[in-house]
Amino acid sequence: MYHAGVFIKGESLIYNLDPRVKLAFIFFLSIIILWAKSLAVFLIGITLFFVALANSIKLRTIGQAVKPLLFFIGLIFAAHALFSAGEAFVTIPYLRVSFSLSGVQEGFIVTWRFLCLIVAAVLLTMTSAPSQIIAAIKFFLRPLKFLRVPVDDIAVMIMLALRLMPVLLTEKEKIETAQKARGYDSRASGFIIKIKAFLFLTMSILLGVFRRADELALAMEARGYARQERTSMAEMKLTSSDYLMLAVAGIFIIIFIALYYCFS
């Protein structure tokens, strides 16, 4: 069920970095990837790739993360390659379809950008535990407290959702098994029966969710859940390697901005 990009405990420089540093770094890196010129994006991509390999992230994992996007990436690539202005250099006979060189180049760069984004995200999620990332998100949402956004509650809600999502899926599987046991065959049935079975399935899941939510809220209230500042299991401390990383990232960003203005 959970396949690509799931945290597996390991030991390396990146694993030991503070989750806040990693989150911020990936955030800025994503922006840079979208803005950078083609050569820079190409270099960033290759660097990311080697960093991923050095942290024992397998090629298969990256492939799995990319796979669901392939259809969409293909569409975008085709939209660039087929409909861009420019000289046609390959024409498929009979179909009257032609690829322009500039279009293919453009399509290649755009898709390369997306690959970079994915690898960066996989790097973050594979090297930090969900509880760490939640703590980091909470840290960055903290300024919203002044707007009366209940940041601590949001962290609790993410935790709840994280814990209960597999439970909901198990429930769904149970109901599906019950349907099958009563003779429902998802392959042989017609469209109307399929839709009816689906409606029944979601209805049961939703009623189950209501019941569970009521019980959970009652249990939390009974245990004195108070909506206030909360402490976290995942304690975050900046170490020397974090500061080093921040410094490197800062220099990197300054060089990038300088280059950007020099060449534009």
């Binding site: 939640i134 709840l160 899941i205």
Partner: protein, 178 residues
């Protein structure tokens, strides 16, 4: 169905609907020719049943689950990069749309299926609008091309999802007490 934003029940319901939307990535609606995932289906139900603010909160939680690294975005994607990627606009759209759908659906007392369908259609337009803007910006496509890539292939499935979601929400609206 104006839920009390401050109650613990509201928190728990929003969290559970966020989890449900996430689980929607693994729940398939059997539509010919291509089965589609049930995510916007649960988005619509959450918005109608929870109302604007809590509905938006539930979708925010869903997006956060994806950032944490659970492969819950359409087709098993996950991670911060998705927000910046070509499909990120849809996710922002989820949050905004849930808020708007909840508001519109709550405007009318004793709203029926048709009113729900109307509110969900407006939500769909919001999702597509934000989605296409980011898509055309990030993928460097013109607005019209982005429409072809980012709206047309998904439109029929989404409309069926809306009809099903409206039916379910009108049946369940009396069962939920926040």
């Amino acid at each position: 169905m104006t839920a009390d934003k401050k109650s613990i029940k509201g928190i728990v319901y929003a969290a559970l609907f966020g989890a449900l939307t996430a689980a929607g990535a693994f729940i398939v609606i059997p539509l010919p020719p291509v089965p589609i995932t049930a995510q916007t289906f649960f988005l619509n139900i959450a918005a109608v049943l929870l109302g604007g603010p809590l509905g938006a909160a539930s979708q925010f939680i869903y997006v956060m689950l994806g950032i944490v690294g659970i492969p819950v975005f359409a087709g098993g994607k996950a991670g911060l990069g998705v927000l910046f990627g070509p499909t990120g606009g849809y996710l922002i759209g989820f949050i905004v749309a849930a808020f708007v759908i909840g508001l519109i659906a709550g405007m009318k007392k004793n709203a029926g299926v048709l009113w729900y369908i109307f509110s969900m259609l407006i939500g769909m337009v919001i999702i597509y609008f934000l989605g296409v803007i980011q898509l055309s910006f990030v993928a460097k496509l013109s607005f019209v091309k982005a429409l072809y890539v980012g709206v047309l292939p998904f439109l029929p499935g989404d409309i069926i999802k809306i009809i099903l979601a409206a039916i379910i929400s009108s049946r369940l609206k009396d069962r939920i007490k926040i």
